[in-house]
C-alpha cells in the first residue's frame, strides 16, 4: 500500500467556475496510472466520504492520454469568494485525498 500523494506526480485542485472544484491526479507513467485507476480505492463512494457529500455529486473521469484522473465535485459551502468561503481559487482542496492508500 502506498499513499496517493506519493504515487501522483501532480495532485492539485482548482476552481472549475465559481460553483465547482476540480481535482487532478497526474501520474508519471502508465503503470502507476493503471495501478490507481484500476484499483477500487478511488471511487465516487470513497471521494464522497472524504469530502462529506453524496456519491452522486462526485464525477470521476479517467483520461488515458495524460495518465490522469479527474475528479469534479460541487463546492459545499458558499460560491467562490463569497462570505464564509476559505479558498477563493479552490487551489488547496486536495488535502483529504493525500492519505488515501492505494494497493
Amino acid at each position: 500500500m502506498e499513499r496517493l500523494y506519493d504515487l501522483a506526480e501532480v495532485l492539485r485542485s482548482k476552481n472549475a467556475g465559481p460553483l465547482h472544484i476540480t481535482l487532478d491526479l497526474l501520474f508519471a507513467d502508465e503503470a502507476t496510472y493503471r495501478r490507481v485507476a484500476d484499483s477500487e480505492a478511488l471511487t465516487p463512494g470513497v471521494v464522497s466520504e472524504l469530502y462529506e457529500m453524496a456519491p452522486e455529486q462526485v464525477k470521476i473521469v479517467h483520461f488515458d492520454a495524460a495518465n490522469a484522473i479527474k475528479i469534479t465535485i460541487p463546492r459545499k459551502g458558499p460560491t467562490s469568494g463569497a462570505p464564509g468561503d476559505r479558498d477563493v481559487y479552490g487551489a488547496q482542496q486536495h488535502g483529504p485525498l493525500l492519505g488515501l492508500m492505494i494497493p
Partner: protein, 454 residues
C-alpha cells in the same frame, strides 16, 4: 488559406510575458494575435466593484509591447474579458490605457469595442420565458435575483468578434468573453474546421500553460491547417509534448473529453497528439457538434456588506485547546454588547483558525497532535464600513481578554503583528448568478462599436 497562424500573447494580459517570446512569435508572421484578460477565479469582488485584478502599470507594459507588435505587422489583435471581469468599468479602464499607449507610441488603428454588460430587463424577460437555467448549486434564476444584482455580464461567443473583424477592426477590445472565441473567430471566418479551431483556442488561451516548463505568462503559436493544428511555445527554453498538451486539457475544467461553447460542444474523445520535432505537437481528430439553440453563460454578483478584519497569532497551549469555547464566548459577548444598536442579522462574524483547520474546516480535523501556534483571522461584515469597523473592534478586544477554563496567560490572548490591528476590506460581493441563457441570436446582447484611434 492553407494555414492560419495564431499568436497567443499570454494567459492573462498584465501578468507579464518575456518580450523575446513575443519577438519570436512575430518572426513567424502570425495572421492574428490575441490575449485573454479575465476570469472569475479571483472571486466576485472585481465584477462587483469595477476594479481590476491586474493594475494599470501591468496592463501598460503588456499591452504596450503587444499592441506595438500587432500594429507593426498590421494584423488584427483581439483582447477578451477586458479588465478581469469584462463589465463596462473594466472595458473603459483598459480602453483608457490603450488610448494612452496609442498616443504615446503614435499608433493609428480602427478599434472595435464589444460590451458585455447585460440589460436587466433583457435577462428578466429570459427568466419569464423560462430560457435560463442553473449550472449547479445556485437556485434557478428569478427576477428578484436579477434586480438585486450589482452587475451582470454575459460571456460572448464567436459572432460579436466576427462582426468586429468583418467590420475591419484592427484591434478588438471585448468585455466578458469565452476564452476560445478570442482565438476561434478569425478561423471560423476563414472556414477552418471548428472542432480543431476551438480545441486549439482552448489550449492557447492559457498562453504556454501547456508547455514544459509550464508558462501561463508566455507566448505560444498555434498553426491551424485543414485536418490538424500544431502548437509551439515561442520561448525557446520551452517545449510541448503529447503528454503536456493532453494534461492541459484537464486544467480548470470538469471534463477532459468535452467542453461547451455557446455554439456547441467540442468532443475530444478521438483527439490524437503527435510529437513533431523537439518542441512541437500536432493535434488531430477533435470534433465540433453544433448546439440546437445557442446559449451564453451569465455572471452576476450582489453586495453582501462591508468587511473589516484583524489578524493575530496564539501560542498558549490551553488557549489553543479552548478555541471553540473562546469563539462561542466572544460571539455571545459581542451580541450582548451591541444589543439595542444592532440585531443579529445586521452583521456577520467569523473566525478562521489557521494552523488548526483554517482551510478545510472539519475535513481537516486531526485530533492526534495539537498545533504549537495558531493564527486567527477575525472577520466582521456589516451593512456599512463604520458598523463593520465597530463590530470588529469590539470582537478583537473581547477576544484579547476573553477568559476560559484554566487560563494562565491572563494579560492577553493574542499576538498582533501590526499596529493598527484592524483592516478595512471594503465592499463584499457574492456570485449569486452563474446561469445559462438560451438565445435565438447569440450575438444580440453584445453591441459592437467602431472607433478610429489616433
Amino acid at each position: 488559406m492553407d494555414e492560419l497562424r495564431v499568436l497567443s500573447v499570454c494567459g492573462n494580459l498584465g501578468y507579464g510575458f518575456p518580450k523575446t517570446s513575443l519577438d519570436n512569435g512575430l518572426a513567424r508572421d502570425p495572421h492574428i494575435m490575441g490575449a485573454d484578460n479575465g476570469s472569475t477565479d479571483a472571486g466576485p469582488y472585481y465584477l462587483g466593484s469595477g476594479d481590476q485584478l491586474t493594475k494599470r502599470e501591468q496592463i501598460r507594459r503588456d499591452l504596450g509591447f503587444s499592441l506595438a507588435a500587432a500594429r507593426k505587422k498590421k494584423i488584427p489583435y483581439i483582447i477578451g474579458s477586458a479588465g478581469t471581469a469584462g463589465g463596462n468599468p473594466h472595458v473603459d479602464s483598459v480602453l483608457d490605457t490603450m488610448r494612452e499607449l496609442a498616443k504615446r507610441d503614435g499608433h493609428r488603428f480602427k478599434l472595435a469595442v464589444i460590451r458585455s454588460e447585460m440589460d436587466k430587463e433583457f435577462i428578466k424577460r429570459a427568466v419569464r420565458e423560462k430560457k435560463t437555467r442553473t449550472l449547479g448549486k445556485l437556485p434557478e434564476l428569478t427576477e428578484e435575483m436579477v434586480d438585486e444584482s450589482v452587475r451582470i455580464v454575459g460571456q460572448m461567443g464567436l459572432e460579436p468578434f466576427m462582426t468586429a473583424l468583418e467590420g475591419g477592426a484592427d484591434v478588438v477590445l471585448a468585455g466578458r468573453s469565452c476564452d476560445t472565441a478570442i482565438y476561434t473567430s478569425y478561423a471560423a471566418m476563414q472556414g477552418f474546421d471548428l472542432g480543431l479551431a476551438f480545441h486549439m483556442a482552448k489550449i492557447i488561451e492559457c498562453g504556454a500553460q501547456c508547455a514544459l516548463p509550464i508558462g501561463a505568462n508566455d507566448c505560444i503559436l498555434g498553426t491551424l491547417r485543414e485536418d490538424h493544428f500544431e502548437l509551439e511555445p515561442m520561448n525557446e527554453g520551452m517545449r510541448v509534448t503529447p503528454g503536456s498538451v493532453a494534461a492541459h486539457m484537464m486544467y480548470e475544467q470538469p471534463d477532459p473529453y468535452l467542453f461547451y461553447e455557446p455554439e456547441g460542444v467540442i468532443d475530444l474523445k478521438d483527439s490524437e497528439f503527435e510529437q513533431i520535432g523537439e518542441r512541437r505537437v500536432r493535434v488531430s481528430g477533435s470534433r465540433f457538434v453544433q448546439a440546437q439553440t445557442p446559449t451564453i453563460k451569465i455572471e452576476g454578483v450582489r453586495l453582501r456588506g462591508y468587511r473589516t478584519i484583524a489578524v493575530a497569532g496564539m501560542t498558549d497551549p490551553r488557549l489553543i485547546a479552548s478555541l471553540d469555547e473562546v469563539e462561542a464566548n466572544v460571539k455571545n459577548t459581542v451580541a450582548d454588547m451591541v444589543r439595542g444598536a444592532l440585531s443579529p442579522e445586521d452583521y456577520e462574524l467569523r473566525f478562521i483558525f489557521y494552523g488548526r483547520d483554517g482551510v478545510m474546516g472539519r475535513l481537516a480535523a486531526d485530533e492526534s497532535s495539537a498545533p504549537r501556534e495558531v493564527g486567527v483571522v477575525m472577520e466582521a461584515i456589516a451593512k456599512d464600513q463604520t458598523t463593520a469597523n465597530a463590530v470588529l473592534s469590539l470582537t478583537r478586544s473581547t477576544f484579547l481578554h476573553a477568559g476560559f477554563e484554566g487560563r494562565k496567560a491572563t494579560a492577553g490572548n493574542l499576538a498582533f503583528p501590526f499596529s493598527p490591528s484592524d483592516f478595512e476590506g471594503g465592499p463584499v460581493y457574492e456570485f449569486h448568478i452563474y446561469h445559462l441563457v438560451e438565445l435565438e441570436d447569440a450575438s444580440a446582447p453584445f453591441e459592437v462599436e467602431f472607433a478610429q484611434v489616433g
